[in-house]
């Protein structure tokens, strides 16, 4: 049977993209609006790109351009994940070892092909969404609404920053879709992921305050550490970061599939050896 990319898988895959930005974004009063705006722009661009995906698939030069474009978000993701792991978990290890480990994991996952990466994105998105919402609920009583601020022109630099990071990955993956009818799933996924991203950034600002959040390299991660269930689970940041890292590994694997498409010409399983 021909492998298919079902709309709900596609929605989940695109929901991973904004969610994997959460760990690295600064949090202040404007970042919430910037994230919401950037995700809306990406969703619109994603719809357009998905509708043109048929034409891209039949043009060899366009595929090469797409493959080269996917390198930028892929390398950026691996670099920021490695730095994050090195600064938080593997403090005594070099960045190189985490880069190697992440690259192996990503290649392993990418060898399943884009369709199966999207299939695995569904449980990952549900897991991440549940954990993030639970973390938000647990800290709800500690929020201080005084830290809330109205949108100002100061959101534009942050909007550009999120857009640079999110737009290339969204457009590349939307162009790489096997069917044009998946464009609605692209917008649904990016909107759902964007909404969760904006909500979690809002939680971070209202919990830590803009001044404390500005001191921290990973404010959303640190804020998650304040979510505790009595004395039992006091290290909420671990439960928070793991699904988000899985989201990013999934995003990288999908980008690797797009990168290899000119060679493999398939969205299915990538055969590492010639079939006998």
């Amino acid at each position: 049977m021909r492998e298919r990319l079902f709309p709900r898988w596609c929605t989940a895959l695109f929901a991973l993209l904004p969610m994997s930005e959460l760990l690295y974004l600064p949090a202040d009063g404007q970042s919430v609006y910037a994230a919401a705006l950037a995700c809306t722009v990406c969703a619109l661009a994603g719809i357009g790109a998905a509708r043109l995906s048929d034409r891209i698939r039949h043009s060899a030069p366009a595929q090469w351009v797409l493959a080269l474009t996917s390198l930028f978000p892929l390398l950026a993701s691996i670099a920021r994940m490695s730095i994050f792991l090195q600064k938080t978990v593997f403090t005594g290890r070099s960045c190189g070892s985490t880069v190697v480990l992440l690259t192996v994991c990503i290649l392993f996952m990418a060898s399943m092909g884009l369709n199966r990466c999207a299939m695995w994105a569904l449980p990952i998105a549900w897991l991440a969404g549940t954990v993030l919402l639970l973390s938000g609920v647990l800290t709800f009583t500690q929020l201080t609404p005084a830290s809330f601020s109205a949108p100002t022109a100061a959101l534009l630099p942050q909007f550009r920053h999120i857009l640079y990071s999110l737009l290339p990955a969204s457009v590349v993956l939307a162009f790489s879709l096997p069917e044009t009818r998946l464009s609605a799933s692209v917008s649904r996924g990016l909107s759902a992921g964007g909404a969760l991203l904006a909500l979690l950034l809002l939680r971070t600002v209202l919990l830590l305050g803009a001044n404390t959040a500005a001191l921290l390299p990973y404010p959303a991660f640190t804020a998650a550490g304040l979510a505790a269930i009595g004395n039992f689970a006091r290290h909420g940041e671990v439960f928070f970061a793991v699904p988000l890292l899985l989201c990013e590994v999934g995003r990288c694997a999908a980008l690797v599939c797009a990168l290899l498409y000119p060679f493999t010409r398939t969205c299915g399983v990538l055969h590492l050896r010639r079939p006998q």
């Binding site: 938080t88 070892s97 392993f108 803009a210 001191l215 290290h235």
Partner: protein, 208 residues
Amino acid sequence: MNLLRFLPLLLLLCGCAREVSPVSALALDCKNGVYCLTAEVVRQDSPDDTAAPAYLSATGTDVTDALRNLRSILPGDLYLSHAQVLLLSEDAVSESILPLADYLCRENDVRLSLRAAVVRDGSAAELLENDNEVYALSELLDRSAQDGILPDMPLYRVTDVLHADGTAILPALRVDAFGQTAPAGTAVFKNERLNCFLDGEIGGGAYA
């Protein structure tokens, strides 16, 4: 078999783990410009396996220096993630506490839920060593904050308000006439340094 090929890569992240000494509370004193940091370390090496506190002290020109010296005393790692209370003597907060708050926020190990309290009429180290029970101080501060006897000001909230306008309040503690650790009102910070104490419940107290 294929998976075994990746095992050497996973071994890159392995290493010899050093023994950690979990810290449950810290106390900071200052005398003649020299900072003295005392850590309450949790020990579980008794025959009945109960947790008992041990106290270690080190001095330095500032908190960073004192913490570095404290770390060098131990053969293993000082694990600050379990620290829940930081006691500050009146002398230690007579200068701006903003650098200290910023440093603690940036320190990877320290949790933002750490509660700081000012010790009245005595040294912070003495009050820390007054109780022989691990986490007794943190429970006292938690309970008092819930009952409204002391302000609920964890580290992240203190840092935020200090950055906003340099004004903050912190809970105050003292050793009472019976030798027990007791709430002693609220320490008020203005321009990032200790200004005065308010006695009694929040909002209804008078200047001491």
